[in-house]
Symmetry: D2
Subunit: 409 residues, 4 copies
């Protein structure tokens, strides 16, 4: 099945991720890096071509640990808690410290950049870098969370057994980052705007929305299968739930289509999709996905916790199971793997990990909302002015009248 | 201000409504009516041109009263409860009975058709018609609800005093509908599919989404004004609320853009926007709009019930008001009409009538969901098949293995 | 009907409000005021008895205008923006400035206190007072919002025509507050804790929950009538909506019962209901009420905007109306006033004003949540400790084992 | 920790479940069974005493498989799909067929009854029984779902490793149920009302609400720990989330208190808690619990997927972990098990299984709502009548006036 593969694929180490798409974006806007140092732009381009030609898979780590949230990255108790440039040598930068959450740590290449803006150009300069290096570079260590692939068969855990990606904290133990892997160094403004200016952010969002469509259609298809197998369409609310899943998928598709229809050449002469519909789609999806999972739970209901395992259906009770697990329009042996898939999409640890991923992959929702408003202030201002113009007319009209007409009724 | 005018305009009797757009759609697919009777297609075309050339405004009535919901329209206690053809004469049809809810009954022309499908081609034939006649045709009576324009000034009720449309029940007291106004007569299948087949439905949805964008941007602008005037941006949740309003507007815009990007010639050689993004946008908006009104209430809060009227600001307490109603960044006399507008958009009877309109203008949400699923069965089936293919692989894989390997760890 | 009267009554100027109940609470804990000045306790007691014996109705104003939200009440551009003590004389205090939102300004007596805590005992002392005076005391001016009683009959606006309370901003124009009306003066700590320490807050919450029950049962009864009249029980979701209304009413009743069952003598030897269930009920209701109104809209649907007025049902179209407005199980002339009541409970300006009142009468939801957490820190701490104890056991157990056993599977 | 033990306990096979409480209720109302056959009442009493004296743990199976939901239990393709009485012998009943979902199948004793009412006294008589037998009775087979205890340590999976209960389908392969274990046989009315009439239902709900309080306080304590460890209280929305958890716990406590305060002797002279507050609490909790889990996810956020396992914290990277996983106010080695607990409460398969349990343990939400409305029709009717009385007054008042006064302003 290609459904999840487009998104989760890394275990095979072959397919490009949305971060590969980001690398493409950085290469597209390489001229932006060259403004600081002509080598940097060339690096971004060369590194992308290397990944592409060798068909390598990329992950990234973009946030710093913040033991103390009230202090900036440079003012934590230990200045090397967050990864920073320890020294600069002829060979490259020596980096020491920690970075949070790389999803798919088994990827070939690791992109290191800042997801949240740095505020202090002076003090935070040692934290201001963008580079891309092989994941197995000496001195890099990954501390992974527990895998949610618990070693079960494809039958029992159809998704987790295939598509678990893992997440990891990344520790840089005096890692030498060669100059040829570096795109930004000691440069807070360029570090902060690298992804927006080059277009990498939009390109990544574009791939994210493609992934969203695939997941939304997967959930829609799964829900349709469940409904049909148990004859649940006798309940009126089932139509509302299917309709909601359809609306989710359709919204994602409309946003993608709009972004593509309004694509245009950017300042680097690269075709760039329109940004706003993609940003909207990404934020909307972080709210839609948990609800989709809830809908699968509501449709599957107690059927989700009644299903036997592969060992059972191939064991001595197979005949009992065949008889007692049949559904209105599905043989037991069709229905069981269908509900096992629904389990792995809505109940298993893998399922909930997906929910967490979708909820938070863009960052804390409050900060996402904040950033959205700040980057769209002009647009809000234009809307506000149109309304204010209307208000002003009413106000002026009132005071233009002679006062004795003004009394109510 | 053009903001609301694009949607609500009828009081001036000048601007076309989305039903004018529907009339255009019926004219575009006039050939469909001609298949039954060559006069009918010509009527649809001529009537549309007449409206267009005389710049007339159109409303419609599309649902039948159902005193007893358990019985069909033909099986109510009184066969003339719902408007039906009483007889056919050389001059036209004589229609008697009642139709529900025409919004904007002051419109010049009244389109009469069936919003919900009729089920019984024989029995319900007398209820199966589409025609368009002047609202002041003899025998037509409108029973209006109470107006929510309570006679206040533009200052006090900035929206209700300008944009109230009214709603009415329409009674046909043996009305003669001339043949030249008739598009469908005694024809259940054609009555049911008139709007979808001709494209009228899509064209109306297109205009509805334009209206949705205008309203969403109005709410976004209004919220921005309120937030700015009272300095509410110190509260983190305010960003979430502004972001939500922006997402609503952006979703509408993406759907419109996608529908236009994928417009294509239909079977009548008319350019027709893609249907699915418009349908999605219309259904989504029925859920978004009540939430937008809630957001305005949450931002305006007690400020919404503290505002004086025009009589006050022009009366003896004007100086007191000027002093005590000032806000962080707004003079009292700017802030008051701003909050009065917020009141009329979120608290007044006009505001709630708008909520009801948006909630129900497409029909009962359960029926809307039901119809959506039924008209998209093919698409759901395709999604289901892709998922089923994946399930089948896992199932076959399990049973292809020798049985002794199958036992869980 | 007594349903709404228990809550809204003031137009008759006769029935006690929940602020009368607050005055009772202040009198009950009068000893607390006497700790500062023996006259103050006696004042609280005497004033309460005066209200009670003369059957007077009380309102209150408890918040200060804050043109600049970033500054405290004492640091606004004008020190007399918020009402403050201008001077102290033998006769009493001279008060100048403004206070926000008194609901029911037509009440006989006005209680003036601080709903939000003052922070600075020195600087804010002139704003730290509690007193109770007749509403028509010289120098007091009310600036009212527009009335939502638009002068219609009981038939057309069954609620607004009877129960509109109005809201007003109160301006003190050098008002002399005699010493015998004063309970707290120039005393920030006592001003802040007056209502909690004396028990007035709990007593007011108790009456509020009684009001909540009455409103919840009113909505439940109204919904039942609507459902029955149009035979809406054929829709499955109707049961969910009725069940939700029932759950709301039952939750309020359980909280009231629990508070009464655990009532106990307080430090002033007065029977005081348990506080937590009442606080919970009050906060919950601010979320329940808007949803109840939404449910009435969802059940009433387009029926809410189809109803004629009293003028119509008594006018020349009465026979038409009788015929065409009948419902499955209701005569038209029964159904119309039922839907008019539903309109006034869910669509009219009166209805939305009720929504605003319930949403915000306890204050800004963020601040309410904040205060709730801060006043229940001990309880949260106890819950946290029990969980931490469990965590510690697991942690100690892990490290107590020899290290070679610790490796996963 | 006692927190979860009160609810989940069965793995130790020692503690009574809420079904033991049900057995107590059946014994209390034993006289109801004796009305049909004097042995049956004695059986209910004796069986309960046996469980109590031997400290045995009870589970139950109460629903029938319905391959075809459009047909009743007696009209499925195979009459022995659902467990039914195959024959009656001197020794007892011979039962053949299947029953759905026993939670905690490792319990000592199995109670078999009907959760959903049977409709047809004649045809469904063979399905109308209540009995209680040891789980290891010959011919009983359990088909369990996959365990969500994946064999990890208490450190890694603090909840699943201790409290997994399992769920099972129960197959009766010609099981002999001795007469002394039978409370109802071939008796549709008594089978349907066994739990409500005897009081068993209320007693079970009482224990369920105790469990709900424990879970709600656990979630509140866990959230408090998380917030404190990461210093999350700088975000305003955190207070809203803590407040929501507190409101949930408080609502459950108020309902329990109200039910106990209004307990009264029932028709069997047994003290029975008031039913309505408990029913409300149970239904409310099915909506609260999924939201509580969501709140834990929202507070824990990416911290939930960053945590290492026991093997890591005891392995060679322990020093790295100690350094990089510290939080604002928690050492790494305190914080990690805290987040592992949060994972097992909100992300793991165990966590989602709890969500499913709470969502559906009372049955399908639509049916629950339906049953609630039907069993409270009298109460709804009383509320409706009070509202109708108010409507009637307004209506009569209108028509009592002379007609010329009736025209709107």
């Amino acid at each position: 099945m290609r459904i999840w593969e487009e998104h989760t694929h890394g275990m095979m180490g072959r397919l490009p991720t949305y971060l590969n798409r980001g690398a493409m974006g950085l290469a597209a806007g390489a001229a932006y890096f060259s403004e600081a140092d002509s080598r940097f732009g060339a690096n971004a381009l060369r590194r992308y071509e290397y990944l592409r030609e060798h068909d390598l898979c990329m992950t990234a780590t973009l946030s710093s640990p913040q033991a103390n949230r009230a202090a900036s990255v440079a003012n934590q108790a230990d200045p090397f808690l967050a990864a920073r440039i320890k020294e600069e040598t002829n060979a490259g930068l020596i980096v020491r410290g920690c970075r949070m959450l790389a999803t798919l740590p088994i990827a070939d290449e690791l992109l290191v950049y800042s997801g949240a803006p740095l505020r202090n150009p002076e003090q935070e300069a040692p934290y201001a870098f963008v580079f891309s290096i092989p994941s197995d570079t000496q001195g890099i260590r990954f501390i992974c969370r527990e895998s949610v692939d618990y070693g079960r068969s494809h039958y029992d855990h159809p998704l987790a057994s295939r598509f678990e990606e893992l997440d990891a904290v990344v520790i840089f133990d005096d890692v030498l980052v060669p100059w040829e892997n570096i795109f930004v160094s000691h440069d807070v403004p360029r570090c902060n705007s690298a992804f927006s200016r080059t277009g990498a952010a939009v390109h990544m969002d574009h791939q994210t929305v493609v992934k969203n469509i695939v997941k939304a259609e997967f959930m829609l298809g799964l829900a349709s299968l469940l409904v049909n197998s148990i004859g649940a369409e006798v309940f009126q609310h089932i139509y509302e739930k299917l309709a909601e899943l359809w609306l989710n998928a359709e919204t994602m598709k409309a946003c993608l289509r709009a972004a593509e229809a309004d694509a245009a050449l950017d300042e680097w002469q690269i075709m760039r999709p329109a940004e706003d519909p993609l940003v909207a789609a990404c934020i909307l999806f972080s709210r839609m996905y948990p609800r989709m999972v809830e809908i699968i739970q509501q449709i599957g209901a107690s059927g989700l916790v009644a299903m036997p395992t592969e060992a059972d259906v191939r064991g001595p009770l197979a005949e009992d199971i065949k008889k007692f697990y049949q559904a209105a329009r599905a043989e037991a042996f069709d229905r069981i793997p269908m509900f096992r898939l629904a389990w792995d999409a809505s109940v298993s640890a893998f399922a909930s990990r997906q929910v967490l991923y979708e909820r938070f992959s863009r960052g804390d929702p409050i900060r996402v909302a904040n950033a959205l408003v700040l980057t769209h202030e002009d647009q809000l201002q234009r809307c506000a002015e149109r309304v204010y113009e209307f208000i002003r007319q009413g106000r002026d009209e009132a005071f233009a009248q002679p006062s004795d007409d003004s009394v109510d009724g």
